[in-house]
């Protein structure tokens, strides 16, 4: 019965499949699909041009010193006061780019998370490399 052959192949394939699944066990989301990444590079964010709204998640003092032109200050120190100020100028067609000082800082992710959960906004992204990376790009361009 040639059906046995097919059955054997079907069963045999489970062996490497399960082995691989074990190897990938904690690298895969088994229950639900993983959401698309929230990160965006400086290049990509700048390419969005006027379609992007920039949010500065750093402390007041750092914002006052220098920030992305047109960026809106929204940090966790004064979230309650600053959020409504941002929400009145927010636009659903624009993508939101949140940044804090460096790649490692957590503030931008926190702010992005709160914008998604508390204000239920879509298209909220976190800038890869943060303010540091943005400045590096700006300085590179000015040097040319």
């Amino acid at each position: 019965m040639k059906l046995k052959q097919a059955l054997l192949l079907v069963l045999l394939a489970f062996v490497p499949a399960i082995g691989q699944a074990i190897y990938f066990h904690d690298k895969v989301s088994w229950q639900t699909p993983v959401a698309a990444s929230e990160m965006v590079t400086v290049t990509q964010a700048r390419a969005w041009g006027d379609n992007a709204t920039w949010i500065d998640a750093r402390p007041d003092a750092e914002f006052a010193q220098d920030h992305v032109p047109g960026a809106i200050l929204l940090n966790e120190d004064r979230w309650n006061e600053l959020l409504p100020q941002f929400l009145v100028v927010w636009s659903p067609e624009k993508k939101i780019v949140v940044y804090c000082s460096t790649q490692g800082c957590n503030a931008s992710r926190e702010i992005a998370h709160r914008l998604r959960t508390e204000a239920q906004l879509q298209n909220v992204f976190v800038l890869e490399g943060g303010w540091e990376e943005w400045v590096k790009r700006r300085d590179e361009e000015n040097a040319q």
């Binding site: 040639k2 097919a6 499949a17 699909p33």
Partner: protein, 143 residues
């Protein structure tokens, strides 16, 4: 049976077997990518699709090997024919629903191949498989 035409069929089976081993290997190297491609068809829930993504590539490799080595030849041929048939149907349905799918059959490497060309390739493959399958059925009956 003309021994020359035998050779032609053998070479065809060899090529198709090698193709499936290659396609299976590419998908086995990136199961997560494959899981996402399956999910794009929006036919299976993620829960099922992600497990299939780990299983299918190995089935393809084993069946491809069956075609090449001629061990469990008929079993492998039957499975590959069925898989290709299902895949062609599912692809047409997805396109009809207006989904934006990148085939995923040859891994992300084939992303650049246009949809039409993909479908043509799959139809040719299906035809070849069906021919081989029917030939084998006749051979088994005659034996």
């Amino acid at each position: 049976m003309d021994s020359r035409s035998n050779i032609v069929w053998r070479i065809l089976a060899l090529m198709i077997g090698a193709l499936f081993i290659y396609a299976g290997a590419i998908k086995a190297l990136d199961p997560i990518g494959f899981a996402n491609d399956i999910d794009n068809f929006k036919i299976l829930p993620w829960f099922v699709g992600v497990r299939l993504a780990f299983y299918l590539p190995w089935l393809e490799i084993l069946c491809g090997l069956a075609l090449v080595t001629r061990r469990f030849y008929f079993g492998g041929l039957s499975i590959l024919t069925t898989l290709t048939l299902i895949f062609v149907v599912v692809t047409i349905v997805a396109k009809a629903r207006g989904l934006d799918i990148t085939c995923g059959c040859f891994g992300h490497a084939s992303k650049n191949l246009s949809f039409t060309w993909h479908l043509v390739l799959d139809f040719i493959l299906l035809a070849a498989l069906l021919v081989l399958w029917r030939r084998e059925v006749l051979r088994i009956r005659a034996a």
